[in-house]
């Protein structure tokens, strides 16, 4: 949809992405501190990534299909907060950690299960947003 907002300067975009990324990383760290047991199943990053993927599904429908949001909203929340909250490296680290412990089957289940959970979450988030928010029908 055409935007009524002027295009923001590149420096402003980088600044809000950085601020959002710092906050997102802090939130991920805070969730991780709530389960300090290193031998526990890697629920923390699985949950963080699933929640973050549902969040991006909702956000992207909201700002690209429903509302003419301020042009810094998507970089701040999408690229910054949710991008910094979710993590591919922490996911890969969990796989490595499980393999090091000799829990090969759990590692394989975690590897594939995260992909399934993430894709289901982003799809469900976008679908729920298209149903819930007023606006034109989904393209």
């Amino acid at each position: 949809m055409p935007s009524a907002h002027p295009t923001p300067r590149r420096g402003s975009v980088v600044a809000v992405v950085a601020l959002g990324g710092g906050l997102g990383a802090l939130a991920r760290y805070a969730v991780g501190l709530s389960t300090p047991d290193p031998d526990a199943l890697p629920w923390v990053i699985l949950a963080v990534n699933t929640v973050g993927c549902a969040g991006i599904g909702v956000l992207m429908v909201a700002v690209t299909e429903r509302w003419d949001a301020h042009p810094l909203v998507r970089p701040f929340l999408g690229i910054g907060v949710l991008g910094g909250f979710t993590s591919f490296s922490a996911y890969a680290f969990d796989v490595h950690h499980l393999l090091e412990q000799g829990r090969t089957i759990i590692a394989a289940l975690y590897l594939a299960g995260t992909v399934v959970a993430a894709m289901t979450a982003v799809w469900a988030g976008a679908a729920a947003a298209r149903r819930s928010f007023p606006g034109q029908a989904a393209p």
Partner: protein, 122 residues
């Protein structure tokens, strides 16, 4: 103090992800999300090096928090990866969507395992 390390690393990681994604998109004029694939593999490789080095106990906690949890954590992303995969699938590019998932997982996890093995053997 640990919160500050994570925050600073997260800021740098997210900003770097945005800039690298932009630079890659400017060079590769294709709907395939090469930018996100690049940062995810790069971040996994850096975290792999840290993981390998820390096996010898040589990585201070502040470095692990800044570079591992903050920088690598925020340089890489699962939300943009999943959203771009969904976008490919919704645009009818089903094969590209499946390829993106398989290549991202194989290259990302492979980069971390390989880098950890290399750095751990030093």
């Amino acid at each position: 103090m640990s919160w500050l390390w994570v925050f600073v690393g997260g800021m740098a990681g997210a900003a770097a992800r945005y800039l690298v994604d932009h630079a890659v998109k400017a060079r590769a004029d294709t709907p395939f999300p090469w930018g996100t694939l690049t940062v995810n593999v790069l971040g996994c490789a850096i975290l792999g090096v840290l993981t390998g080095l820390s096996a010898h106990g040589g990585v201070p906690e502040a470095v692990r928090l800044t570079l591992g949890v903050g920088l690598c954590g925020a340089l890489t992303t699962y939300s943009t990866f999943s959203y771009e995969t969904l976008t490919l699938a919704e645009a009818g590019e089903r094969r590209a969507a499946v390829v993106n998932v398989l290549v991202s997982v194989a290259a990302g996890v492979g980069a971390l395992l390989g880098a950890a093995a290399l750095a751990g053997s030093w």
